[in-house]
Amino acid sequence: MSVSNLLENWSQFRHAHPVDDKPHDPYKWAMSIDLDACTGCNACSIACYAENNIPVVGKERFQHGQQMHWMRIERYWDEDGRDFPDQGAQFLPMMCQQCEAAPCETVCPVAATNHTADGLNSQIYNRCVGSRYCSANCPFKVRYFNWYDYPTDEAVWPAEMRQQLNPDVSVRSKGVMEKCTFCVQRLSAAKSVAKSEGRIVREGEVQTACQQSCPTGAISFGNLVDPESRVHKQWQAQRVELDKDKQAKDEHEEGTDLRGYRILEELRPYPSVMYLERVRESAV
């Protein structure tokens, strides 16, 4: 509890993200989601429930808006005033964007949410006192609070179903905030294996639960600073840079013919998730 400890670590701890002189090394986890490949099937969302011990809250609590899906599939309609949705719907998987300058990180009074060295927004359950300021400040509203004590609720996890719980992931009690972690338990396991072999995690060695499940392969996940990774190549091909709030390609009036973008980029949270725009055929 030394003051020097506080002062020394403070600048590192609270260093503004993103930064050029302190690049992420050797990992920066990022994701890219192809909205043209996403079919809206919800497999990713259910896989996330299975992997991360997410409680099913039931009809009444869902009605109150207390659902817990870390990954939600949003469905948008075209707003062209036509009688029928001629171009189908648009699905968008939305989860914690692991923002580099996360609005949630600065406002937690007890420092329960911080940025890790490998670029994740961390949520420390046992530090969280439940002030919910992080959720208030999240523009995407992807943080979910445990409004009830689900582990002791028989309706949520009857004794038999508790055996399905993933032992690598804490089961959260009431009063703490939770959100997508990019399956940090899988990342830790992979890093541990790699470390014991004296190397870093290679592309394809670790998958998030959602990525692993997605039937069309719409989700790419990996190490953004690894030039071999798919996610790095995608970000590069789409000319989306992590540390810009307005991309160079968007400077032109007519826009760009590249599909990559980040949501609410202008608010400058510097999200680590890039989306590829949905495409619709113009010839039909």
Binding site: H64, P109, C128, R132
Partner: protein, 454 residues
């Protein structure tokens, strides 16, 4: 214009105030009983919430904050009354504050305590609230000093401790009077202990004046900063409807407003209950009413500034929230706030209402209702109609648990306040004597003050 009668003897002042401690009107007991019941309701609600989870408050994603935060801010706001009267008006040599600043200071202290309670009931894991304090721990973790909520915690602690100090220091001469005029018993022991051996010597008075003034000067910027910090809970966020630079002064103005309105309410109650008609005179009431009116207009202006700033900004999300406030689910409450906050105080502009007790009582309650609504209307529309349309929730209302705790908080505050008024002199005897004393300077030499010079 004389605020109190010039010819009140000092001994009579002592008598009147000391008698109030023994023998208030029956209304006192009624109020005390109601306060205990209300507090009981609040406690029951909290126990239920503590054991079951925050979900019983009917909060959800995105409406993660509700009446707890709104009422928290309301109580912080109320706390500015004391500082305004004790400190600011003290520096301005407004003598009319003297009979009333004591209970206003008490109001400040107890408002802060009530607000503190709300911080605790609002967080999901109340039993770990101490994580927000910088205490030595085995993990070597400090709280997050970047967070406005933490500034809140620091500021409120500082403000509370300073207010208690201020209240206490200011009471010392009165406690000495009480000590000297009290029959033996636990009260006498209490006053003896707290009076710190005050004898009323010149040296003591000199030190006293300097100390009092110093704390007053310290407390004024503290009060401004506390509510500015509370405002920054919102202003530092980028939620639409919150990210407004005028929030700190707006909140401070609102705080002063709500504090003054509460002073009027309590003034009327105490005047009747403790038979303080001589001291809490109508002319003082008139002055506080006029002050409230002025602050109401300032608040109205700052409110309009907020709307204007949103309107001419390019922030579509904030504009949408403003329109939603005026036309959406919560519109009746928002318009209620506008009415209570900006239209109702116009009553104070009319002289015949400025000393009309029933009208003033009703109006002051409406003003505070307006201020409470204002805090709620800052929170609910922004959450229900935020940046991200998928999560809009226009149908969330606080549950009975939340209302129960809001109700309970009023009970808690009233309980503390009433106990205070029964144990400690709620009119500052020595300062009232100063008012009379100054006047007696102009009395004929033949007429002297009666016995009991303190």
């Amino acid at each position: 214009m004389k605020d109190i009668r010039e010819d009140i003897a000092w001994a009579k002042i002592n008598q009147d105030v000391m008698k109030s401690l023994e023998n208030p009107r029956r209304l006192y007991w009624v109020i005390l009983f109601v306060a205990i019941c209300a507090f009981g309701v609040g406690v029951a609600c909290e126990i239920y919430q503590y054991r079951t989870g925050m979900g019983v408050a009917n909060l959800n994603n995105p409406q993660v904050w509700g009446l707890y935060i709104a009422t928290f801010i309301f109580w912080i706001g109320m706390s500015h009354s004391g500082t305004l009267l004790s400190a600011i008006l003290h520096l301005m040599h407004a003598d009319w504050r003297k009979p009333i600043y004591r209970f206003a200071e008490a109001m400040t202290t107890f408002s802060l305590m009530t607000a503190g309670l709300f911080v605790m009931v609002h967080i999901g894991r109340l039993w770990q609230f101490y994580y927000s304090l910088p205490y030595p721990n085995e993990r070597g973790i400090w709280p997050n000093f970047q967070s406005p909520l933490l500034w809140d915690a620091m500021a409120i602690f500082t403000y509370l401790s300073s207010s208690i100090l201020f209240l206490f220091v200011g009471m010392i001469p009165d406690l000495a009077i009480a000590r000297d005029n009290m029959a033996d018993g636990w009260r006498k022991k209490l006053y003896t202990l707290l009076a710190l051996g005050w004898e009323g010597t010149d040296r003591q008075w000199r030190n006293f004046r300097v100390t009092y003034l110093t704390i007053a000067c310290f407390l004024i910027p503290l009060a401004v900063s506390v509510h500015s910090i509370v405002a920054s809970d919102f202003a530092m966020s980028q939620a639409p409807g919150w990210h407004v630079t005028s929030f700190p002064p707006y909140f401070v103005a609102g705080a002063l407003y709500s504090g003054c309105a509460a002073i009027i309410t309590l003034f009327i109650i105490l005047r009747y209950t403790f038979r303080f008609e001589e001291y809490m005179t109508k002319s003082i009431l008139k002055k506080i009413v006029r002050l409230t009116f002025a602050i109401a207009m300032i608040w109205t202006y700052l409110n309009a500034v907020e709307f204007a700033a949103v309107w001419y900004s390019h922030d579509e999300a904030s504009k949408a929230v403003l329109i939603e406030k005026a036309t959406g689910t919560y519109a009746p409450f928002w318009w209620g706030m506008i009415f209570c906050g900006s239209v109702v105080p116009l009553v104070f502009a009319f002289e015949r209402f400025q000393t009309n007790i029933p009208v003033l009582f009703a109006t002051s309650l409406l003003l505070n209702l307006g201020m409470w609504l204002e805090r709620w209307m800052i929170i609910a529309p922004t959450f229900s109609h935020g940046i991200y349309p998928w999560t809009w929730d226009h149908d969330q209302w606080p549950s009975m648990v939340q209302w129960g705790m809001v109700f309970g908080s009023f009970g808690w505050f009233t309980l503390l306040f009433m106990i205070f008024c029964k144990v400690f002199p709620s009119v500052s005897m020595y300062e009232v004597k100063e008012m009379v004393y100054h006047r007696t300077l102009h009395l004929k030499k033949s007429e002297t003050a009666e016995q009991g010079a303190h």
